[in-house]
């Protein structure tokens, strides 16, 4: 038996892929998270109310999602509902996160895979004709960070969402300036997406596939309207039929967390079935996005690849459509006066259990706390990347079978492994929380 270990770059965190094979027969392909965070252990005994500022440190990329999931879990435990203004401000934070993440994943992580016969090492290596990509891509992603800063307070680890609402509103003048910034970013994001789409077509021509793996179940916590704040969690069968819809407090009835031996990350199964979460799962679940430019891109996407769509590399394009949506939705929300009104409702601390879910850029993120005398007695974090672990491994196996042949191991294998993993945009800090 031979084993290949392929290191991974242009993903969040430390992970590797191992492929075991005999001759041209592939025995296994594993996606291994090689770092460990340990937050479920070290938050034990922490004051529950402090969780929204502790948990963003699980991951500096997905910090906003943890921040908001955490206040939602506390609100579920204490039985309070935040006022609508607070929910709008939190949604803005989540949109900032979506802009930042999708721009990072698209332009920094995956776009370098597309050009020429073997891609380039990074977005700083595009040839002179595409030299505008790097500065524009960084400008778009920074717009997302700036939106998080405005809505969330701190620029990486937000502080504004608190149990019952938000600490304070957003000054009118700053919202107006941010709205203008988003208006200016929109055409830039679309121009980048257009170029991405062209290069993507080139890749498809070169490798003659966008992923041969069979479809899986899809998982997302999105609802039409304010799609990405996190609604009921839904499961879609490969044929597009809804299989289940449940609130965060019922997650353990539907989703099983399975420990994996060779990785610090668990995986998630739905009734023993593989799952895919992230951008494509959401687009397969949402009949429409409700903003004009995103709708244009979604129609184009569905014309080309159908609905529901299944090929793995389409996760990348789907992120581009969400980037456009997030900018448009932020422009909509920033039109409102978010400076005053009820920002927060009171609560009475009590012992109990709470569940919070948000649709993070990588899929449904669930926080589940047990609280006693104001302290965290137990904490569970169910992470979007976990939902994808087994789907990633199966897709890797398919890629390995394609490129390990009786003629030998194709040099395309390593690139294919990178493309498959990046399509799911895994976050290892989160996955090993």
């Amino acid at each position: 038996m031979a084993q290949l270990t392929i290191p991974l770059s242009r993903i969040e965190g430390h992970a590797r892929v191992t492929i075991q094979f005999v001759g041209s027969r592939v025995l296994s392909a594993h996606f291994q998270a090689t770092e460990m965070r340990g937050f479920e252990h070290f938050v034990l005994g922490a004051p529950a109310q402090q969780m929204p500022v502790i948990v963003p440190r699980i991951c500096g990329v997905c910090s906003t999602a943890h921040h908001v999931a955490s206040v939602k879990a506390l609100e579920s435990a204490y039985g309070v509902t935040p006022p609508p203004q607070a929910v709008r401000i939190r949604e803005l934070m989540m949109l900032g996160q979506l802009i930042q993440n999708q721009a990072t994943s698209l332009f920094i992580f995956t776009m370098p895979d597309l050009p020429g016969s073997e891609g380039v090492p990074s977005l700083f290596h595009f040839d002179s004709a595409d030299s505008e990509i790097a500065p524009k891509a960084l400008q778009v992603r920074r717009g997302g960070t700036r939106l998080i800063t405005l809505a969330g307070g701190q620029f990486i680890h937000p502080v504004r969402a608190v149990l019952g609402g938000v600490t304070s509103g957003l000054a009118r003048q700053r919202c107006d300036a941010m709205r203008q910034e988003m208006i200016d970013l929109l055409p830039m994001a679309e121009e980048l997406l257009e170029r991405y789409w062209e290069l993507f077509a080139g890749l498809e021509d070169r490798i003659s596939t966008l992923g041969d793996d069979t479809p899986t179940y899809y998982l997302a916590a999105v609802s039409p309207g304010h799609a990405y704040y996190g609604g009921p969690i839904r499961v879609l069968a490969p044929n597009g039929e809804e299989q289940a819809a449940f609130e965060a407090d019922a997650y353990s009835k539907y989703l099983t967390e399975v420990p994996t031996e060779g990785s610090y990350s668990d995986g998630t199964l739905f009734r023993d079935e593989l799952l895919r979460a992230n951008s494509l799962a959401r687009l397969n679940m949402l009949p429409e996005l409700g903003t004009p430019r995103a709708e244009y891109w979604m129609q184009r996407f569905r014309q080309d690849w159908g609905y529901p769509a299944h090929a793995i590399l389409l996760f990348d394009l789907a992120r581009g459509i969400e980037l456009v949506y997030a900018i448009e939705r932020a422009i909509e929300l920033l039109r409102r006066d978010l400076s005053n009104g009820d920002m927060r409702v009171a609560h009475v601390p009590r012992d109990g259990e709470g569940w919070g879910v948000v649709e993070a850029p990588r899929g449904p993120l669930i926080h589940h706390y047990t609280i006693r005398e104001g302290l965290v007695e137990e904490a569970r974090f169910v992470i979007p990347t976990q939902h994808n672990i087994f789907a990633i491994e199966r897709a890797l196996r398919v890629a390995a079978e394609r490129y390990i042949t009786p003629q030998g191991i194709s040099l395309e294998l390593e690139r294919a492994v990178g493309r498959v993993v990046r399509a799911f945009d895994p976050c290892i800090a989160c996955a090993t929380h």
Partner: protein, 279 residues
């Protein structure tokens, strides 16, 4: 000044890297040689400046740091984890640590070290850039203003909230009550430790209405002192500005509520660091 640089990420959250990407003005001015988050490259080449983020948490971290350090002319320890362990340092609290080890029975993976270490416990560090994470402006200063950067001394000076003569008599938890947008958080009864936390961040948290939790580490006066001396200084600030019973402040400072962040200072006391090396 065209020195190249590299970024080595140990166990951390990537927040420092995200912040560095936000400081995009370095592009074109300094060549980035290695940073797996954005760049596919097989190995770390010899490089002038090595930024190290994250803590030394696994045997893999230890190996990669030791190897990379030999190829760099100077090392900048970036972020709270690299400098004092950060939030991950909580993992060395006795109870949490035991639970963590019980869980770690997976195979063929880098092992977790018995005790988490800051970067300078393993290799010599030229400069320190604290913050969780450091702001893009601080990254630019670290990369380009090797000697000239002079941040405000404390977060308090960055903050700009108005101090009043109000003397609160009750200590509020950081997530409680309606926060006045203009008045000093201490005057409102919050346990804000910005008065002795290193400045230079621009005080985004306190401006948004959340008390400073001290992520930039201690201001110059406390870098080489024990955490007890540093606590005492905070207690004096509260005695001067509030009527909150001193024993309440003393207890809160040592409670898990703030200890979750104040733990960051432990290593400053254990390993004295040259004030001039801290940005």
């Amino acid at each position: 000044m065209t020195h190249d640089f590299a970024v080595l990420q140990l166990s951390g959250c990537s927040g420092c890297e995200v912040s560095l990407l936000n400081a995009e003005d370095w592009i074109g001015q300094r060549q980035l040689r290695y940073m797996p988050l954005v760049l596919t490259s097989d190995d770390l080449p010899p490089v002038h400046t090595l930024l190290v983020s994250g803590a030394v948490y696994t045997e893999d971290d230890l190996y990669r740091l030791t190897k990379a350090a030999k190829r760099a002319e100077q090392i900048i320890a970036v972020g709270t984890c690299a400098i004092s362990g950060g939030v991950a340092n909580l993992g060395t609290r006795e109870q949490a640590h035991r639970a963590l080890f019980d869980d770690v029975e997976r195979r063929h993976l880098p092992r977790i070290l018995p005790k988490l270490r800051p970067v300078d416990a393993v290799v010599p560090v030229t400069r320190y850039l604290p913050g969780c994470p450091p702001t893009p402006e601080l990254f630019m200063a670290a990369l380009f203003e090797e000697d000239g950067f002079k941040p405000n001394k404390t977060v308090c000076q960055d903050c700009g909230r108005k101090k009043t003569r109000d003397r609160p008599s009750t200590l509020l938890c950081s997530q409680c009550g309606e926060v006045d947008p203009d008045i000093c958080l201490i005057n409102q009864g919050y346990l804000c430790i910005g008065s002795s936390t290193r400045g230079g961040c621009g005080a985004p948290c306190t401006r948004a209405g959340h008390p400073c939790v001290g992520c930039r580490g201690p201001s110059n006066g406390f870098i080489s002192r024990s955490s007890e001396q540093w606590f005492a200084a905070i207690e004096r600030v509260f005695a001067k500005m509030t009527d909150i019973p001193p024993e309440q402040i003393a207890k809160a400072l040592r409670s898990p509520e703030l200890a979750l962040f104040v733990f960051q200072f432990a290593d400053y006391a254990a390993t004295p660091r040259d004030v001039d090396k801290v940005l």
